[in-house]
């Protein structure tokens, strides 16, 4: 039940915020942080249960056996990611707490904290659910939370950004439901393992249509082209929580779901082709757009799209090695994305802008932010001795060993990444600032404890980047264990259903 508590605890917290409204209002500042910390403990417990061999714990809701009731499964992959995600979420929630505006109305603060809690619960649920419709429900919960959180941002483009996200997300989820409709019409079940075992009885048309529709449903959250039109504006609206959440929690979780879909439920060539093409397009368009960006948050948003494109590319190729590479890539990238976005959001908070033109030489007065940015950028671009280097090399090698020509675009794009990241660093770090005294800080910006706390959080990430760069073995081993279960989908599916 531990997995279930990781979802129930935040949800009970959110409900209580309203049940005890008035009495709990001052407490609402701390509740998300407390719950996030509790979830880290739960995730640790989860991993304690099986660190050396693969785990497989099945939760049947209501005691109804697997394909009839809703089933949640905790396997090695979800245990590992539960831990990673819970730590990232804790950092994000804490930085949100630090960034809290003192003038904001108390009652809408409570709503916002409740929304964050509900979002957290849904995020963990997505890691464990083994039922396609339950997935849909949780995905919608996460999406609506994000629409609401984005709409609350103070940036002038926030409401329109939220609207765009909402409309695209609406289409995506409608397509997903269509896929479920067709799937249920043919196979009569919604349980992922059950579908995996029965998928071969689908006729060819359905076998092509269903995974495509499901993929398109996930495509919005995966920031896959062409459903990623919402990304630049939503990241651009800033805020301490949303961009970091999107890159550090949301995208990885949906990437994981995609992984399960492609390796266990529908390991069919048609799906992989679509992923390959979409991945290449996403990668190229993303990175070129990053190059052309004039705002830091947008540059990072497009960079995030680019790395998701790379992930899609990696996942599209069957094989155990690719599986490991794609997971490793995912983890290393999210480790760097969170501090990068954190610094960008921080700069926007302190100085009211993230436009490059207005942030010349800003790192000379924000030295720690600059250092964090430098280290994270080094990791993302793949400089040796940083965490991202190993991931990048492994990814490129895997691609090359699958098909030589697959290497070309990712390599080209890596060069682009170097260019725009170090251009940004040079401009913000090495150019002299506009005025001798440095850029004035906005009223209402972070100072004292809030400021130090925020910077500290991102420094921890930067530190981890350096540590994992030098000692990657721990993560590699965990990934090894996490993926062994997926290598034989039929065996895995049977095990999940309990030997039916």
């Amino acid at each position: 039940m531990i997995a279930l508590w990781m979802t129930l605890l935040p949800w009970i917290g959110a409900l209580c915020l309203l049940l005890f409204k008035g009495w709990m209002d001052r407490f609402s500042r701390f509740l998300p942080g407390l719950v996030a910390a509790a979830n880290v403990l739960l995730a640790l417990l989860l991993n304690l249960q099986g660190s050396q061999q693969p785990t497989l714990v099945s939760l049947e809701m209501g005691n109804w056996p697997a394909p009839f009731g809703i089933q949640w499964v905790n396997d090695s992959l979800s245990s590992f990611f539960a831990l990673v995600i819970s730590l990232v979420l804790l950092a994000l929630v804490l930085s949100r707490g630090f960034a809290r505006d003192k003038e904001q109305q108390a009652s809408s603060d409570v709503y916002s904290s409740a929304i964050v809690l509900i979002l957290s619960g849904a995020a963990f649920g997505l890691l464990f659910t083994a039922d396609l419709f339950n997935l849909f429900v949780l995905m919608e919960i996460a999406s609506i939370s994000l629409y609401a959180l984005v709409a609350r941002s103070r940036h002038p483009t926030a409401p329109v950004a939220s609207m765009r996200y909402l409309l695209l997300g609406g289409v995506g989820s409608a397509l997903y439901l269509l896929g479920i409709g067709v799937l249920y019409a043919k196979l009569g079940t919604l349980n992922m393992a059950d579908i995996a075992l029965k998928a071969s009885s689908l006729n060819p048309a359905a076998l092509q249509l269903v995974p495509l529709l499901l993929l398109l449903g996930l495509a919005v959250e995966l920031e896959m082209f062409p459903f990623n039109a919402w990304v630049p504006q939503v990241y651009g609206a800033g805020g301490a929580f949303v961009p970091g959440f999107l890159a550090g929690v949301s995208s990885p979780i949906f990437a994981l779901l995609l992984l399960r879909l492609v390796t266990v439920v529908f390991p069919v060539p048609q799906l992989r082709t679509v992923l390959l093409v979409a991945g290449l397009l996403t990668l190229v368009i993303g990175e070129f757009s990053a190059l052309a960006s004039r705002r830091l948050l947008k540059m990072l948003a497009f960079s995030s799209v680019g790395s998701m494109g790379m992930f899609l590319l990696l996942v599209s190729i069957p094989g155990a090695a690719m599986l490991r590479s794609s997971l490793f890539w995912l983890v290393m990238m999210l480790l760097a994305k969170v501090p990068l976005l954190g610094v960008a959001a921080y700069l926007q908070r302190q100085f009211g802008t993230d436009r490059f033109l207005e942030l010349r030489g800003i790192f000379s007065q924000e030295k720690s932010a600059g250092l964090v940015f430098l280290l994270s950028a080094a990791s993302i671009t793949g400089i040796p001795l940083f965490a991202g280097f190993r991931a990048k090399i492994q990814a490129l090698v895997s691609l090359a060993s699958a098909q030589y020509w697959l290497l070309i675009l990712p390599l080209l794009v890596s060069v682009l990444e170097f260019v725009y990241f170090f251009r940004a660093i040079r401009w913000m770090g090495m150019e002299p600032p506009e005025s001798a005294g440095g850029k004035p800080v906005l009223p209402g910006s972070l100072e004292g404890f809030s400021r130090t706390g925020t910077l500290f959080l991102f420094s921890v990430f930067a530190l981890l980047i350096v540590i994992f760069g030098l000692f990657p073995q721990g993560i590699l081993d965990s990934i090894e264990v996490a993926t062994t279960q997926l290598f034989d989908p039929v065996v895995y599916a049977r095990a999940v259903l309990g030997g039916m």
């Binding site: 209580c16 005691n63 929304i115 919608e140 043919k186 009569g188």
Partner: protein, 241 residues
């Protein structure tokens, strides 16, 4: 985008969908659907005979409304998710409503017919709403439907009586209460039977009002929650904070 492009894209997608869907032969099932066993209330394998309205007793699942048996029985976790979605949209509306309306909506003076009619119709709406969610396991309906009906009653009050104001805090507490109790009952189920949302109350005879174990209670909670939630949204739309 221009209408021509839009039409073109839609036609293309439509052709694609129709082609694939007809090829997929939706009418032909390849496998027996899981709902077969749910209809026979034989998922656990303990019920060999058919379920008979008004006679079958102590089954694994006691609701005469088969859809309800799925929504609040076999797939109850999705319903918890559904509750959270509505909760979320009420929160979302509340979170940005103060940015939209900073004064109350000016309501037109209602006519005599409206005022008198509302007074007569409102209690009926209330009764009907309560009927719908309390009989969710016996006839079409349930918590969500019943709650919506209650909310319509509240809307009527807003329209007919210019000075009507919903007690915000009370309804928010109702919302929270409904949700928390739902989860708590689920946890009690876990303690009593080993899994979250396990139906630990006796199932009684299929077709009677007091049957189906936990289901009427859950639907009651959902009805209260949904009613107060939608009422709260209405309140926000009318410009209260």
């Amino acid at each position: 985008m221009s209408r021509l492009w839009a039409a073109g894209i839609v036609v293309l997608i439509g052709l694609f969908l129709f082609l694939f869907l007809s090829d997929a032969q939706l009418g032909e099932r390849q496998q027996v659907p899981v709902s077969e066993k749910m209809v026979q209330k034989n998922v656990l394998g303990t019920n060999p005979g058919p379920v008979i309205f008004g006679q079958s007793e102590g089954l694994e699942e006691g609701s005469a409304n088969l859809v309800t048996s799925i929504v609040v029985g076999y797939r109850a976790l999705d319903t918890l998710g559904e509750i959270m979605v509505l909760f979320l949209s009420a929160l979302g509306v509340g979170a940005i409503a103060h940015l939209v309306w900073n004064q109350k909506l000016q309501k037109e003076a209602p006519s005599f017919i409206l005022k008198t009619g509302a007074g007569i119709v409102f209690p009926m709406i209330l009764v009907f709403g309560v009927y719908v969610f309390s009989h969710g396991h016996l006839s079409p309906g349930g918590g969500f439907q019943g709650g919506s009906i209650l909310a319509i009653g509240i809307l009527l009050l807003y329209i007919a009586f210019p000075t009507f104001e919903l007690n915000r805090v009370l309804f928010q507490r109702l919302e929270g209460f409904g949700g928390v109790t739902f989860v708590v009952l689920g946890v009690i189920g876990a303690l009593a039977g080993g899994a979250f949302l396990f139906n630990f109350l006796p199932n009684g005879v299929v077709g009677q009002l007091f049957s189906a174990g936990l289901i009427p209670i859950l639907y009651l909670l959902i009805g209260l929650k949904v009613g107060s939630e939608l009422g709260g949204i209405l309140r926000n739309l009318y410009g209260g904070e």
